[in-house]
Structures are given as structure tokens and as C-alpha cells.
């Protein structure tokens, strides 16, 4: 492997890795406020992308994406209000199974609304064939969009959770829901908000990867598995660790490809997921570190 090739693999890995990271963050936001894993997270990405694709036929791209994000946020809120809130005293397991049901429901609804065809958004900059040369490697300008937008999301979330009242209230709910309620925080609203936030982030991720990865109604589940692996690897509930874990996972996959058959690539995340679940269920960044990072 020469130098430009290593850079090329790095970009391939970081691109998919940052998407895993964003899906992982989506899992974490909801986990933090409710303690449940929302398996419909992957579907939020596809709903966002599909809606944006439909709107892009009538409106300029930024407007279409904005509207799509808004609609997905509303969908996220709707899902929480109609399903999760109704069974508030249910066990965590039951709620998780409900989210699996929701994911199937959304997927089938998408099949009926948009049919089975593969769609895609136009490239934000340039076309399918444009490339940018960075450090000797050739990449699509869309890769830079993916990396940039992911960085902005992570930064934005950090600021939101750290400095805004709502963000701090959500963190309070995550730490101790009862105590938060006693302080006058409307915890129900915080749960709804967490679903809306995850849905919105999912929609953004869905839109920025649509030009490169293409969008089909049933693509959510594989993305959710990768994102879930990132969330678990980083330690559930820790968004910053999910970012590190997502990037690590993407890079692992890319360099696995360079050394072994591509066929083994998909096995990487599953093997990592199993290993972590068996040997270190609290993630690489264990319980203690989570609390440190969380209060950062």
C-alpha cells in the first residue's frame, strides 16, 4: 500500500464511519431520556431522504431538505406521542419491541408511498463524476459534505446539551428522571423532544448520504445495525464515544477490505458487536468514563 492508497482507505472508512456515528448518536439521545433502544432509528434516515427526494422535484434542494427534516421531526414526535407515551408504565423490553414494530410499520408505509425503486438526491456540489484530490487521494465532494455536516451535528449537539436550558433539562432527565421531575422539568415533553431530535438528526444523515449511497425503502435496518454497534461500542448513552466508535468501525471495515476478502467486511461490525456484548457490555468507554464525559 502506498501513501495515497492509505489516505483513500481512510476517507472511505471515515465517510461510512461518520454515518454510523450519527445513527449511533440517534440511538443514544433516545436511550438517555427513556432507557430504550429505538430500532426505528434507521427508518428515520430513509424517511428523511425519501421526503427530501420527493420535495426536490418542486423546490430547490436546500428548501426540500429543510422541509424533509421538519417532516421527519414531526414523525418522530408523532411516533412517541401515539405509541411510546401510551404505554408509559411498560417494561423497557416491551417498549423496545414496540420500536421494532414501529420500524416495520414505517418501512411498509414507505414501500406503499414511494414503491420499491432506488432513488437519490442530486450531489450537493458537482456531479456523480466530480472528484476532489486530497493528499493524493481522489474523493467525491459529497464526502466532504458528509464529514462537514457530521462535524457540525456533533458540535451543535454538544453545545445544545451543555449550554441551553432545554438541553440541560434533557440531560437532567437522563441522569435521574424523578429528580428532574421534582425540579419542575416536564419529563414527558423531554422524551418527545428526544424522539424529535433523533428523527431530525437521522433525516439530516439520510439526506447527506443519499447522493452517494442511494436510497431504497428497506435500507434503514442495515444502517441501524451499524449505528447500534457504534453506540454499544462506545458505551450506550455516550454520544461523543459513539462518534469515536463509529469512526473506528468505519476505518476497521475499510482496512479489513484492504487486507482480506471484501466478503468479510460485513462480518466486522457483527463480530465487534458480539465481542463487546459478551466481554464488555458497558462499551470501550466503561461506566465511569461515561459519567466523566457526560458531565463534561
Amino acid at each position: 500500500m502506498d501513501y495515497p492508497q492509505i489516505v483513500q482507505y481512510c476517507f472511505a472508512g471515515i465517510t461510512v464511519g461518520s454515518i454510523y456515528a450519527i445513527v449511533g448518536i440517534g440511538f443514544n439521545i433516545i436511550y438517555n431520556t427513556t432507557g430504550i433502544i429505538n430500532f426505528a432509528q434507521g427508518e428515520f434516515l430513509i424517511v428523511g431522504a425519501m421526503t427530501a427526494i420527493s420535495f426536490s422535484q418542486f423546490f430547490p434542494l436546500p428548501v426540500a431538505i429543510g422541509m424533509a427534516i421538519l417532516i421527519t421531526i414531526l414523525l418522530g414526535g408523532l411516533v412517541e406521542i401515539t405509541f411510546i407515551r401510551q404505554v408509559r408504565n411498560a417494561s423497557i423490553l416491551r417498549l423496545i419491541i414496540i420500536t421494532i414494530g414501529i420500524s416495520i410499520l414505517i418501512r411498509e408505509a414507505m414501500l406503499h408511498i414511494w414503491d420499491e425503486k432506488v432513488r437519490f438526491l442530486p450531489y450537493f456540489t458537482g456531479t456523480d463524476t466530480s472528484t476532489v484530490t486530497v493528499l493524493g487521494a481522489h474523493i467525491s465532494p459529497q464526502v466532504l459534505w458528509v464529514l462537514g455536516v457530521c462535524a457540525v451535528i456533533v458540535l451543535g449537539l454538544t453545545l445544545f446539551f451543555k449550554y441551553t436550558l432545554t438541553g440541560r433539562a434533557m440531560r437532567a432527565c437522563a441522569d435521574d428522571r424523578m429528580a428532574a421531575r421534582l425540579c419542575g422539568i416536564n419529563d414527558r415533553w423531554m422524551v418527545t423532544l428526544s424522539f424529535m431530535l433523533s428523527a431530525g438528526i437521522g433525516a439530516i444523515a439520510g439526506c447527506i448520504i443519499s447522493p452517494i449511497a442511494q436510497t431504497q425503502y428497506d435500507m434503514g435496518a442495515p444502517l441501524a445495525i451499524k449505528g447500534f454497534t457504534a453506540a454499544i461500542l462506545g458505551g450506550l448513552g455516550n454520544s461523543m464515544a459513539a462518534v469515536a466508535a463509529g469512526l473506528f468501525l468505519g476505518l476497521m471495515e475499510a482496512f479489513m477490505v484492504s487486507q482480506f476478502d471484501v466478503a468479510y467486511k460485513e462480518a466486522v461490525s457483527i463480530v465487534i458487536l458480539l465481542l463487546i456484548l459478551v466481554f464488555r457490555p458497558s462499551g470501550i468507554f466503561g461506566r465511569h468514563e461515561i459519567n466523566v464525559l457526560r458531565t463534561m
Binding site: M1, D2, Q5, Q8, Y9, F11, A12, G13, T15, V16, L111, D115, E116, K117, V118, F120, T127, D128, T129, S130, T131, T133, A137, H138, I139, S140, I209, I212, A213, Q214, Q216, D218, M219, P222, E253, A254, V257, S258, D261, V262, A263, K265, E266
Partner: protein, 386 residues
Amino acid sequence: MKTQFAKILCVVTLGLILGLLGCGKGPEAKPIKVGALFAVTGKASNLGAPEAKTAEMFVNKLNERGGINGQKIQLIVKDTGGTKENAVSMTKQLIEEEQVLAIIGPSTSGETMGIKDICQEAKMILLSCAAAETIVNPVASYVFKTPQKDSDAVKLIYKTMKAKGISKVGIIASNDGFGMAGTVQLQKLAEENGIVIAISESYDGQATDLTDVLTKIKGKDIQAVINWSIVPAQSLVAKNMKQIGLDVPLFQSHGFGNIKYVQAGGEAANGTIFPCGRLLIADVLPDNHPQKAVLTQYKKDYEDQYKEDVSTFGGHAYDAILILTEAIKKAGSPDRDKVRDAIENLSGIVGTAGVFNFSAMDHNGLCMDAFEMLTVKDGKFALYNP
């Protein structure tokens, strides 16, 4: 106790009456049941959806004209979602519950290989719309297929490569039945055609980014890339190659024959070279070509009814039903064994994939001249002129 008995008696009587009413329709109105397994949804939906639409259109038109020998056809379409497990269980349903005369489909090679033995054992006629050569080689007496052979596609690709002076290639294929069967043929026929395969990799059918594997191929210093798959990744290959600056010709399989793959590939799809049947270039065929009439008629019917571009896959379903109905006509009655014998003796049937000449040893009935080499020019299919 007594009332319960009376209830049961009521139900039984009602059942008997309904049963008698059912019989009252008379045997001559009974339609011929034909099962169809298509991947209408899932990752092979670019194949299955046009196939299901075509089959329904064909059968409706046939029934409007009065059916075959006075009998209408009842088409039972089942959506396999492109998975072998569904294909197997649905095949069993069609054989045991629906007791169909024949099964059309499945869309993909993997599914077909999953049900080949089941159909053979149940003596059920299977007219597959999938391409892999293993479906009809070795021959199973009840199993046929309508798409062209992948070995012929490989030979034509290698021939074109030699003419272009290409000898060192990299192969990527999807890790499904079609991709694996194609890879086997590509490797088997490479040596005798003077082609060196520098690297051969397979990727997941749901892959959303192939820059990593293409980077690996780029490092092998090859003169052309061959991609063998039927999944949407076909467009990704074209895009990713351009994006990472891998500027060599891209050859694809006959699985590229749906304009949607070209649209998804955008600018990057231009210049892709692939073997394909003549359906996609029906407009530019000379008027005296034997397939011209069939192709233009089917293309017009399909595009008028469904308002979308025709694809070769729909054509495979068209051919399958055409062959079945021709065989029923020839056999004179919808008797499964007679129809099977009739298919084996069909010759000169002009379909969308080519002119079919079946025999006991050839259950595909097509040869290499069923293919043309096509390319993509300005987002449209065109004849490849070196």
C-alpha cells in the same frame, strides 16, 4: 351438549351448501392456474417489479382475447422479496395448495437454485426468469429458463475486450446467486480467451459504498473492471470508479439492462459496456430483424400501460409466459406432462430475449447471438461500436 351438536350440524350443512354452490360453476369455466414468483420488493425489485407487471399485462390481454383453447389463465403472483426462504415456502404453497400448472420466476438465480430441486421432485414446470447457467446445466427435466446464458455473456465480453486490447482485468460481483455464478463463468473462461484476472472480489448486495474495494482494485494496475450483479450497486460501481479516479473501461453483466441503473449512475454511467438482449434498442433495429415486431409491440404496450421505461427483466417474464402459453396450445390441454414435453419441442418462438429453440438437452433455447454489446451514451442505451 345438545345445542352444541346442533351448532356443529348447522356449520356442516352450511359448508356443504357452499361447497355445492362452488361446484355449480361447471368445469369448462375453470381457469388454468399459473403461479408466479417475483421479487417485487427488496433489493432485486428492479427485476421483479417489471416482471410482475409484464406477466399481469400479458395474462390480461390473453384473457381479453378469450384465453387459450377457451380457457382463461389465472395468474397467482407472489412477492418473494428476493429471498430464497420466501421463494421456497411460496413454491410449496403454489404446488400443494394452489396446485398450479406451472410456475413462472423467480427473479433471481439464488432463489431459482433454491427451488430447482423442489420443482423437479414435484414434477412442477418451472420457467425461471433468472440468468445463471446452473439453472439449466445440468438439465432438470421440468426446469427451464428464459434469460440468456451467463457463459455467453462472458464470452461476448471477453471477445470485446480482446478487440480493445484489454488482457488484465479486475472482477467484482455481488455475493448472491447471480454474482457467484457469473464469477465462476468469468474465471472458467478467462484462460482460453487470454484474459488475466488480477483480482476477484465479492461485495454485499446491499452495499452503499464501494470505494474501498475499488481502491483495492485500483492498486492492482488493471486495464478494465468487470462488475457482475443485479443489485443497485451496479450504479455505485460506475460512480465510485470515477470518484476515486479509476479511469478504465467498466464492463457490466446483462444484469445492467434496466434504464434505472443508468439514471442512478448519472453522468458516471456513460461509457459502461455490457451484453444485453435487443429489447433496449428495439427502436434502432432494422425492420427486417426477426425480433423487431415482438420487441416494439411489447415495449409500446408496457410503456403505454405503466408509464415507465421497459427493461430486459420484464422481457424475461414475457418470454416465460409466451413459452408456456405456446406449449399449452401445442399440447392441446393443460396437462402438466404434456405441456412439459411440448416446451421441449418448441422451436422458432420469437421472444424478447431472442429466438427460442428448445430441446431435451437445451432448456434455455438461446445462443450467443441473442446478445448485442450495448453501451451508455448521454444517459441512454446505444449499440456499442468499437
